[in-house]
């Protein structure tokens, strides 16, 4: 009888012993986690995309509660969600201007000269590693859709001309496509900056135009037509400095013969899309 009771007694004893330790630990070592972190995290999209610069949504929520970042820095959330978070935390939304990914190239299959046929390993990075794909231009879009595969938000689709069409509605300005492009052609720019240079050829004149029909030949007309100081020629390409003052106007692009500088209202390559529709 005795030996039957020993085992449970020992177990109960051990249980009480550790229970006491836990109770003491709970009393003296307790960490108060701000319940707002959890609640804020619930309101975030949970994609862990990293567009805000944080490793994921929870670390972003922690920083939000500490007041180190603004809710608006989450580019993925809808405006309502941002408002909700701002209201909940009683801070300013600080909604940053909407950024979208733009491609610094306008030379699709129809415009860029093909010097070879690339039949190797699929993907831009694969082509860039061996011989730079089939296009004569060594700086432009390879058109093999690495960005389409990398996009988390299904915002990039290759158009009929072999260029990645960015859906500005869906684009959340996370840097996935920027990292995926072996030619570093994607950049995140504010949607309301209408003037955009969509060429990356550091050559001038005929050297550029013989590679691609829509190459910037560095003629400098856009520099002359824009407000002084707004556009400068650097490395045979126009560079737009929005901070320099001077109001950007569509006049700057009117005389561009190759459409390498454009006035964008929404998406890039709208003219190419319409051409596709016309063909169909």
């Amino acid at each position: 009888m005795n030996s039957l009771l020993v085992a449970p007694a020992i177990m109960v004893g051990i249980g009480l012993f550790f229970g006491t330790i836990l109770a003491v630990a709970q009393r003296f070592l307790k960490v108060d986690e701000d319940p707002r972190i959890e609640a804020t995290n619930e309101l975030l999209p949970g994609t862990n995309c990293g567009a805000c610069g944080q490793p994921g949504c929870l670390p972003f929520a922690e920083k939000l509660v500490k007041g180190e970042v603004d809710p608006g820095q989450c580019t993925v959330s809808t405006d309502e969600n941002i408002e909700q978070i701002a209201e909940y935390l009683e801070v300013d939304a600080g909604r940053a201007e909407k950024l979208v990914a733009r491609l610094r190239c306008n030379g699709g299959h129809l415009q860029a000269n093909q010097i070879a046929e690339y039949r190797g390993f699929e993907g831009c990075r694969g082509a860039a590693v061996v011989s730079g794909g089939g296009k004569g231009c060594a700086w432009g879009c390879l058109g093999l859709a690495d960005c389409e595969a990398a996009c988390t938000f299904d915002a990039i689709h290759m158009n009929a001309n072999g260029l990645p069409q960015v859906d500005t509605e869906k684009c959340r300005a996370c840097p996935d496509c920027v990292a995926a492009c072996p030619r570093d052609l994607f950049e995140l720019v504010p949607l309301n900056q209408n003037l955009y240079v969509q060429c990356n050829i550091p050559l001038a004149g005929e050297a550029a135009t013989q590679l691609c029909a829509v190459a910037c030949d560095a003629c400098g007309k856009c520099v002359a037509d824009a407000a002084p100081g707004l556009i400068t020629m650097q490395n045979n390409l126009p560079v737009i400095d929005y901070a320099a003052g001077g109001e950007p106007r569509p006049d700057a692009v009117f005389r561009c013969a190759t459409r390498s500088i454009v006035w964008l209202e929404r998406e890039q390559f709208q003219d190419q899309e319409s051409r596709k529709a016309g063909v169909a």
Binding site: G50, A116, A128, V130, G134, A138, L203
Partner: protein, 446 residues
């Protein structure tokens, strides 16, 4: 036991591609006539690009220094022809990118006499002067990597080079440049070997040659002077026998640990072409301005082994060989296993280019890719004992960072895995892509 010795003369793993060398193995080396335009890229070796010291419009003589080394891991460049510098600008290179180069138009009336200095008194040169001379002569590893030869010669204190290993394996299919050099210029090879051996202070020279070149082995053995510490070691025919770490394993049965260099096991490895270039410079004053190139493959009309001045456009070389056959689909610079396809015929022959291979539809058609069946053939093929199948899967899933833990940077892209894969998975291509992503990826600014 001794009879089994030759069986041991190999490394573990590797593959056995058909060698296809019969096309050019018996063709003597011939010289390509001078053409019109030459393009000398400033960065045709591994390391810092050279610095041009000539200007557009300047007249240059064949063999004249036109660019000096841009740093220690860099070499000089010499004009391959007598003519006029037309432009110093960006030209398309083998990788499709534009890079700075010196364009020279040959003078059709020049004698093309080499503007070479006299032979150098190499014996009295100090080691530093010898290394500097090799650097100025523009000599690089001629096997394909184009790593500056003088860097290998600069051994840090405390490291003793005991063996000079000369790589005559030529394990890449189709290529016969080293084979022909060993047959036609064994004296130059052995002279160069003696210069290198004495300067390195090595005890002996070992020439490793694959056993499918018995004539080369015989010729070399015949030319060895009595008392000269040179051994010719026949090696098993296996790819990549010519990779330096594999060859050290085959010849000396020593393994060079990952991340270390051959010098750490007391060996200096040089290609046959490099050694001949050393002999040409120190005994005849001829800097590196031309090299032997094998033009072969089913798509070329007259295959040949050619001495081609550096900077000659591939177009001229192919034209000399009777042009391309109809149905040509792909031109590879280098060997078929590790060479690079070129997108334009205007790219020039560089110091590291050992072959121009022309393939037709039949050889280049891509086989249908099937899922990995986990057979492990790639693991058995990989001479570096990596796990190619796992690396390929990670690369497909774009999990590049995870590949670092599997030592992806130890991969030399020899292509054994892709060759061995029964499911036709482009394994080495996937790994190469991942390596490129890891080294060139632009980190987001955020």
């Amino acid at each position: 036991m001794k009879a089994l010795g030759f069986l041991r003369r190999s490394f573990e793993h590797g593959v056995h591609p058909a060698h296809h060398k019969q096309q050019t193995a018996d063709l003597p080396i011939q010289r390509v006539p001078f053409g019109k335009n030459y393009i000398m890229p400033l960065g045709q070796h591994i390391g810092v690009p050279a610095k041009a010291i000539v200007a557009a419009g300047e007249r240059v003589k064949r063999g004249q220094l036109i660019a000096e080394p841009g740093g220690f891991v860099s070499t000089g460049l010499h004009s391959p022809v007598s003519g006029t510098v037309t432009e110093i600008g960006d030209f398309r290179g083998v990788d499709g990118r534009f890079a700075p180069a010196i364009a020279i138009e040959a003078d059709p009336f020049a004698t093309q006499q080499v503007d070479a200095g006299a032979a150098l008194d190499w014996q009295s040169l100090s080691l530093e002067d010898f290394i500097a001379a090799v650097q100025m002569a523009g000599i690089v590893g001629m096997g394909g990597a184009a790593f500056p030869a003088h860097v290998k010669l600069s051994v840090p204190d405390g490291v003793k080079i005991r063996h000079l290993l000369i790589n005559g394996a030529e394990c890449e299919p189709y290529l016969t440049t080293d084979h022909r050099l060993m047959l036609e210029r064994p004296e130059a090879l052995l002279e160069g070997a003696e210069i290198m051996r004495q300067k390195l202070g090595a005890e002996e020279t070992v020439i490793g040659v694959e056993m499918n070149k018995p004539d080369a082995i015989e010729t070399l053995r015949k030319h060895i002077q009595p008392g000269q510490p040179v051994r010719v070691v026949p090696l098993k025919v296996k790819y990549p026998q010519g990779a330096e770490k594999m060859m050290i394993k085959s010849v000396f049965d020593k393994e060079v640990p990952a991340g270390q260099l051959p010098r750490d096991v007391g060996v200096n490895v040089n290609n046959v072409g490099t050694i001949v270039a050393i002999a040409d410079y120190f005994l005849r004053g001829m800097p590196l301005i031309e090299r032997v190139v094998t033009v072969a493959g089913p798509g070329v009309t007259y295959p040949a082994n050619l001495i081609v001045p550096l900077g000659t456009p591939v177009r001229d070389v192919v034209k000399f060989c009777g042009g391309l056959k109809p149905g040509t689909r792909e031109i590879i610079m280098g060997g078929p296993m590790m060479g690079r396809p070129i997108a334009s015929l205007d790219v020039p022959i560089l110091k590291g280019c050992s072959g121009v291979l022309v393939f037709t539809e039949e050889e280049t058609a891509r086989r249908k890719e099937y899922p990995c069946i986990s057979c492990g053939r790639c693991l058995e093929a990989c001479p570096y004992f990596l796990n190619p199948s796992r690396l390929a899967r990670l690369s497909k899933a774009r999990m590049f960072d995870e590949m670092k833990a599997l030592n992806v940077f130890d991969c030399v892209e020899c292509g054994c895995c892709t060759f061995a894969c029964p499911s036709s998975i482009p394994i080495v291509q996937l790994i190469r892509t991942a390596k490129d992503d890891l080294t060139h990826r632009k980190e987001p600014d955020a």
